[in-house]
Assembly symmetry: D2
């Protein structure tokens, strides 16, 4: 057994060095360090990595870290919510998010045209350039038969400061199974698009069927996690070899979002000898640490 | 100010009576009572009620309570995950869920062909009758242009012991924006369906646009909640008049699932003077209490 | 394996009947039912039951349920926080708690002399009769050598509408290891009491050393849980035979309050074959259900 | 309003630099940065700082960070649980904690004489040198009239690699109101100590009465938090000027451990214009980041 070593710090300690020391401690500190280890292992291994992305990651300021992951090809497939893509596109088109307070008067915000996401605010006005952009490219967007194709077209119009743009540049497909619950989709609702979601599904399953070694990173739960989980059951090399889940959700209610990674072994979604970590933490706190550590460990 | 009255119990106290007493207490006890009050108010008012349903509700044994809601038309529109519909269909076709242990050996379960959802188990074999059923009705299912239509066709083949069957009987539309992340959808992936999710979206928006007074019940968060929230922003009578959310998720990470109901006021998703309750509790514990209480309060 | 049976309800269903049905379901519903079962089992067995009581139970309106437990001698030893005893004494002396709102303006409350505990309010004035009462009985209180004796003297002055009074009447000792963190103790701080907390400890250990079969009920964690846990390690019949813990705290941080009941087996605090339940729920929601069910199951 | 700026990282970024960037983001990331800011502010201000320390901090490997705080006199008064002091003394006497697994077989551990705290293990054997140490110094320990004095005597025998030893060296008083719930106290239970806990209380209140500007840092809740909170109500300069709370506990149950810092304003425990942060996070993850950042910001 390894002895617990008390964490010490020196001035100007790097994030990676601190995380390494946390790895010799216990509880959440150790788990965080193991989370970095499993990401490092899956990136260094020649395996295909799914990133399942839920939560208000763009409003929370996590966009730069996600772009870093895409830029360095630490991720092969992105599955995310329509909301994250909406906020990414909003920022790509010049819109902004602001630091507010979690206990603001929501009635006053409504009168000012400000929308609140916990302690982050956004003006209603951001939807104007979004609609203009989508209208401008509508003819091309209407050619898309899947959400994945639609998002690729959108990405092709944007620069690499956005998730959509960087994914396009690096040829990383983006799937968004529940896309129609987003502000992005609301604008497109009545514009005559013809997207067959079963084509999204079959292309996703066909792609993952071929993958040999596989890893997943779930930032939050929801549909992104569940969609990837489902696909991991199939194919000649079914089951992930590596897995990381970061969520604050609880296990006890039985829902997929909070479900243990380990549970996936029973379903064949995770290999019996897989390396995996189940970190119960706020993604907005630990993702910066993980990406900074990976950045130091894997010279890109 | 109302004085806190200590809760007392007598032998054979009914659920509704106990809930009423909890309404004179504080903390979670009071919130639970207020949750029943808001459901009662929205059912008695002539308003349209959305039920957003996430989590493993069918495996957890909540199906009968949901059917009760549909049977009594306490709900006008159901938005749910593909998973709940999959497990509902599995049971409708004779499949079963079992009481297991949360700390079972997942490797052993995998060898036995048992899939684990926290402390509930299910055999892999349930997918066989599911595939047979879907194959049998494939020609008809292929006529569906939306998930809502697809689910209506499925419901028409089932009896009222199922969510799908009871919703069909009572003409309650079911939307499932992220349907393709489900076992149900996996079976249909390569069978040539042509579902345009934007038609689902536009039919949903057109329907809700017309609604005057509106209420929502969110059991868990995820896509069902977010999809309903989005639609509430639009129309001549935008914003809900009543709202109930029940979740264990936290507010601090900023994600939609854990977001405060109150936050919706800033977006115009909730009216400024709406009656609403934000109950942070395990749905599987409080839903039985709520439905039993409503059953007593509203003779159906 | 037992099949999951969907919960159904009829009008005027009793709490116990509903809880029984929850026992055939999964997740939290099932756990709640098992919680009632383990309390029933320990009460029916000839064993000594410790109640570890933390949290704002009196302000939350749980007092009547706790008095019910003491009245029926479902509990043999009470270990609790000074706060619960303070609020119990406040109410015994005519003070009141009120229903407020969780998001009130705390500055305004301060100006009005109202103290907030989440959504419960209390006037500062309640401390006046508390101080008068303690002054009146000071000579007698100064004879106490332990907190347990001090609380017994206080209880002897009160009627059975209070935790302190009912415990006195039924000769149930109350321990409060951290008593000095309470409003009750603040008043006594400079009044010359001479309480030796090691006498509290040794009397508690001597008492529990003799206990043969043992059970515990932890409502919340904190010092009450930990104090009982410690004592369970010692004696010829070390380790509890029954255990119930109800808390919303998490396991991952490693603290005692959220620690799994199961962990106690490694320490010898829980017998290897003990019957125990670890219910992650809000005590203020589930305690009323548990006591109502026990009331029906055990005619008192 | 400040714009949210997406966090970016470079190779070898220091912890403090990353935390600064998190301060321009939202949600938990921003809160963590504000937590560092409030600690920096209270340390730089000429105010008295209370550290309230709960949870399994020593087993989790946090000891070195706590010693750093005491060494640099960032803390003026320590209030903690008996458990943290027990584990600190165990390590000071050569005992060790080990990295285990959270899902180990507790029966096997019991047979091996290993005690589990989530994913940390400790041998039963550690209590032998602890008892020897306490017996050796018993005569001196028996002179203590308060727990604070007892802990000071113990600290005087230890070197600065321990919390007890460093606090002694820097003349930082340690209070432990619930000391008797600890393994440390169990050993002393029958050894004839005569500790009057009301003397601990009155010395604590007398000391804090004199403090002008005040700050608190609560790592976890429990008795340490509540004891400090109580004392903050009294004196000519009642109420804290700065506050930081870090906990995973929830607000909804109404207990003190999870209660909002803000609530303290209603009681007069926190000044109306105080600078405070309420960080809902795992202490074992964020404490290393906070101390590393403070170390860089405040050259000691």
């Amino acid at each position: 057994m390894n002895k617990i070593e008390a964490i010490t710090v020196e001035e100007k300690i790097t994030v990676n060095e601190l995380v390494n020391r946390m790895g010799k401690a216990g509880m959440g500190a150790r788990k965080l360090s193991e989370a970095v280890d499993v990401v490092e292992a899956m990136v260094k291994d020649d395996c295909k990595i799914f990133l399942g992305l839920a939560g208000a990651m763009v409003p929370a300021g996590m966009k730069g870290l996600l772009i870093e992951m895409l830029k360095n090809k630490w991720v092969d497939v992105l599955v995310t919510t329509g909301a994250n893509l909406t906020h990414d596109l909003i920022e790509a088109l010049g819109g902004e998010h602001y630091q507010g307070k979690w206990n603001e008067d929501d009635r006053e915000l409504n009168e000012k045209g400000l929308d609140r996401m916990w302690d982050v605010l956004m003006s209603n006005d951001v939807y104007v350039p979004l609609e203009e952009f989508l209208d401008k490219h509508l003819a091309e967007l209407k050619k898309a038969e899947t959400i994945q194709e639609l998002l690729k077209i959108v990405g092709s119009k944007l620069n690499e400061d956005s998730i959509l743009g960087m994914a396009y540049k690096n040829n990383i497909p983006i799937y968004s199974p529940a896309f129609i619950d987003s502000g992005f989709a609301m604008i497109l609702a009545h514009k005559g698009l013809n997207i067959n979601q079963f084509k999204d599904l079959s292309s996703f399953l066909d792609m993952t069927w071929e993958f040999k070694r596989k890893g997943f990173i779930y930032l939050g739960g929801g549909v992104p996690k569940n969609f990837i989980q489902q696909s991991l059951q199939f194919g000649p090399d079914a089951g992930a070899d590596y897995g990381l889940q970061i969520t604050m959700d609880r296990v006890e209610t039985g829902g997929s979002s909070g479900a243990e990674v380990k549970e996936g072994i029973s379903w064949g979604k995770l290999k019996e000898d897989a390396q995996f970590v189940d970190l119960r933490a706020d993604v907005t706190i630990v993702l910066p640490l993980i990406i900074a550590s990976i950045k130091e460990r894997i010279k890109s």
